[in-house]
């Protein structure tokens, strides 16, 4: 280690990796991963979300976690976004492609993807 910059670089690189353990991020992205969700394809959605959150550099603000069956099995895979002080947003019939857009526009851009939400999706 020859300089403080090197140390800072390692720290920078590691921070995103352990941010998961802080558990106090502002945004929580929750994927329904009960039997119904998994059957409808929630696992690739979950994995895409985790990847995208890291790729788009929002890991310090958002965590991805799972939950059980929300009760609307016919709309699975369901993804819900909880943000402090805001109404929760429920996305339905998600696919990995849709997940990418949600991370880019909603999580990073702050604007929910209205056409994917439960009230507006073409089901």
């Amino acid at each position: 280690m020859k300089s403080l910059e090197e140390l800072a670089k390692i720290r920078e690189r590691m921070l995103s990796k352990i941010a998961l353990r802080e558990g106090e991020n502002d945004i929580r992205i929750v994927v329904g991963m009960a039997t119904c969700g998994i059957a409808a394809g929630a696992r690739p959605v979950l994995n895409t979300l985790v990847e995208e959150v890291a790729l788009q550099g929002v890991a310090d603000r958002a965590t991805v976690s799972q939950t059980g069956c929300i009760g609307i099995c016919q709309f699975e895979p369901v993804v819900e976004v909880f943000e402090n002080g805001k109404e929760k947003v429920t996305y339905v019939k998600m696919t990995p492609e849709m997940a990418k857009r949600v991370v880019a526009e909603h999580i990073k851009g702050g604007k929910p993807v209205v056409e994917y939400t439960i009230g507006n999706a073409k089901i």
């Binding site: 140390l7 590691m14 990796k17 352990i18 994927v31 991963m33 009960a34 976690s65 799972q66 059980g68």
Partner: protein, 599 residues
């Protein structure tokens, strides 16, 4: 891409309750379900709640599982990790708040055990992987060393530590900054930085937890100390009985070398510092600083008179500083957050936080870190959960064999250096052994004195002979052979040993006896004059009697009695011949009518 971290405690407590097997089972199960690339297993240091081990935390949710066995793993993986439904029956629920929210999942930091705690020295224990220098760096590791080397003069470092009010956590409570200043002022071609990791008090394991859970914080702090006093070499003296700690320290030292955080020209500033490990064989006296240094030098661990103090003439005759593990664990935080931050915690003369190892008759055995000055009541009742089985709290022994006991009547005192010292106790390294109504205080004094007798190195007469004479008297008392004047004889011996013993071990050895006499003199008197043990603990003094009202005369006890001390006629009450009775208690276990009692 990793989406979840599972932290499994790999401290000594959880390892002995089987966390290694749990980890293996988890690894296999993750492979089986093809989750190995999504979920990362991290082995961490001690979480503190050792009574509930093996302990496991799943992030990002922060679900805290306790008493996990390998058999629980398939369920956790299937339900929680795959389907996102935490396994409720394994989640740690605060017994005190169980009624209020039986169904809700309590967050770890809201449980009574953690709520009142403030983790400074233990900040990384149970949070990072102690075998990964990268994770330590992510938690601002080695930033303090960088700051010290590039922005501060050695003098400023010592001054900052002094201003923070940090006092030695190993027992004596000497201001750490002052110690550093003395060593810095000594002129010599060579100086040493020593870490005392020879934690020997029965029931104390805070240093072990830091070594096992956050070894880099110790190395970093020693390098900072080296810069402050002008030393380029450090020694960690750790006992061989801490194999996990030794292994992780060695890994940490190797990693720091690889990154150039130990060695030559650290951060390109021209500062050199290296650290070596020395293993002790587990003699209690080697925790005494002069004996420890003698041991590092390769000699038999015996203390030397002071002065000269180590800061003037220490290891290999060179100026040295010697600090305890927990003391070092605070250093980087003081450098990063400032002396004022540290001084804002605690009481007027005892700053910061202190780790205590709770043990004995207490529900939550484990490690707690709290601000200095927290009341004993908070520690015992709130954090520790009180005595198990509804027994009454009687006293707590602080400072191990060098300390004393605090009776239940003083439970509201603030715990800091000066309050404890004024009561004839000692902060010591921070062991707290809790006793309930079933513990006999004379027996407790006997236990600690017996420990000192075993561990006395024998160099000076007061300690070698004096403590043994005291133990003889205590044995006499607990065997029912105590006589008038024994208490006074104990006190006289104790005061002589305190005044004349060579080192800290001998000087403090009589403390448990003096403190128990001070607070529980009536128990000593009951043993001596009434030949009675009020707690019913001392076997030789117990009296077994048969209640003639309850006895049906079945003769079961008489037939079981190994010495035929029980006689009588069938269908009328039996009696125990006290002169024959060997107090084995078999009759009590045999009686179906509860007619036999022990007093």
């Amino acid at each position: 891409m990793i989406r979840a971290h599972i932290l499994i405690c790999a401290g000594t407590g959880c390892t002995s309750s089987g966390s290694e097997t749990v980890k293996e089972a988890l690894k296999n199960e993750l492979d089986k379900k093809e989750l190995q690339d999504e979920i990362k297993i991290v082995q961490t240091g001690c979480f503190g709640l050792c009574a509930l081990g093996p302990i496991m935390i799943v992030y990002p949710e922060g679900i805290f599982y306790s008493r996990v066995t390998a058999a629980d793993i398939p369920e956790i993986v299937e339900e929680h990790l795959l389907k996102g439904r935490p396994v409720k029956r394994l989640i740690y629920n605060d017994p005190a708040e169980k009624d209020a929210k039986a169904d809700e999942i309590t967050s770890l930091n809201e449980t009574a055990f953690y709520k009142s705690q403030k983790r400074v020295a233990l900040r990384n224990c149970g949070v990072i992987d102690p075998e990964s220098i990268d994770e330590y760096i992510a938690m601002r590791g080695y930033e303090a060393l960088g700051k010290v080397l590039t922005e501060m003069t050695p003098k400023q470092v010592s001054e900052t530590i002094l201003a923070s009010g940090l006092r030695g956590r190993g027992g004596g409570g000497f201001p750490t900054g002052r110690k550093w200043q003395f060593a810095a002022a000594s002129v010599s071609d060579k100086k040493y930085v020593i870490c005392n990791a020879d934690e020997g008090d029965p029931g104390a394991f805070m240093d072990r937890s830091v070594l096992e859970g956050d070894p880099h914080s110790l190395l970093e702090a020693m390098a900072i100390a080296g810069y402050a006093i002008g030393s380029d070499e450090g020694y960690v003296y750790v006992r061989a009985e801490y194999p996990i700690a030794v292994k992780r320290l060695q890994i940490a030292i190797d990693q720091a070398h690889e990154y150039g955080l130990l060695g030559n020209d650290i951060f390109g500033t021209g500062f050199n510092f290296d650290i070596k490990l020395r293993l002790g064989a587990g003699a209690f006296v080697c925790g005494e600083e002069t004996a420890l240094m003698t041991s590092i030098e390769g000699n038999r661990g015996e203390p030397k008179p002071r002065p000269p103090f180590p800061a003037v003439k220490g290891l290999f005759g060179k100026p040295s500083i010697i600090n305890n593990v927990e003391t070092y664990a605070n250093i980087t935080q003081i450098i990063l957050n400032g002396a004022e931050w540290f001084a804002s915690m605690g009481t007027e003369k005892s700053k910061g936080t202190k780790i205590f190892a709770l043990g004995g008759k207490i529900k939550h055995t484990g490690l707690v870190e709290i601000p200095m000055g927290t009341s004993l009541r908070t520690i015992i009742e709130e954090i520790g959960g009180g005595c198990p089985d509804g027994k009454k709290f009687k006293a707590v022994q602080t400072g191990g064999p060098s300390g004393g006991c605090i009776p239940a009547s003083l439970i509201d005192i603030p715990v800091d250096y000066d309050t404890l010292t004024s009561m004839g106790c000692m902060m010591g390294s921070g062991g707290m052994i809790v006793m309930d109504e079933d513990n006999c205080m004379v027996d407790i004094a006997k236990f600690f004195l017996g420990f000192v007798v075993d561990e006395s190195c024998g160099k000076c007469t007061p300690c070698r002979v004096g403590t043994r004479r005291m133990l003889d008297i205590l044995n006499k008392i607990t065997e029912g052979k105590g006589e008038d004047g024994d208490i006074e004889k104990l006190e006289e011996l104790a005061n002589t040993i305190k005044a004349t013993a060579l080192c800290g071990l001998g000087q403090t050895a009589p403390n448990p006896v003096l403190a128990t006499i001070k607070f529980f003199r009536d128990e000593y008197e009951a043993h001596i004059y009434e030949k009675r043990c009020p707690a019913g603990h001392c076997k030789a003094l117990a009296i077994y009697t048969i209640d003639p009202e309850k006895c049906k005369g079945c003769s079961a006890c008489a037939r079981k009695c190994p010495v035929n001390a029980i006689t009588g006629v069938i269908k009328s009450p039996y009696v125990i011949d006290q002169s024959k009775c060997i107090k084995c208690g078999t009759c009590v276990d045999t009686c179906k009518f509860g007619a036999i009692s022990k007093k």
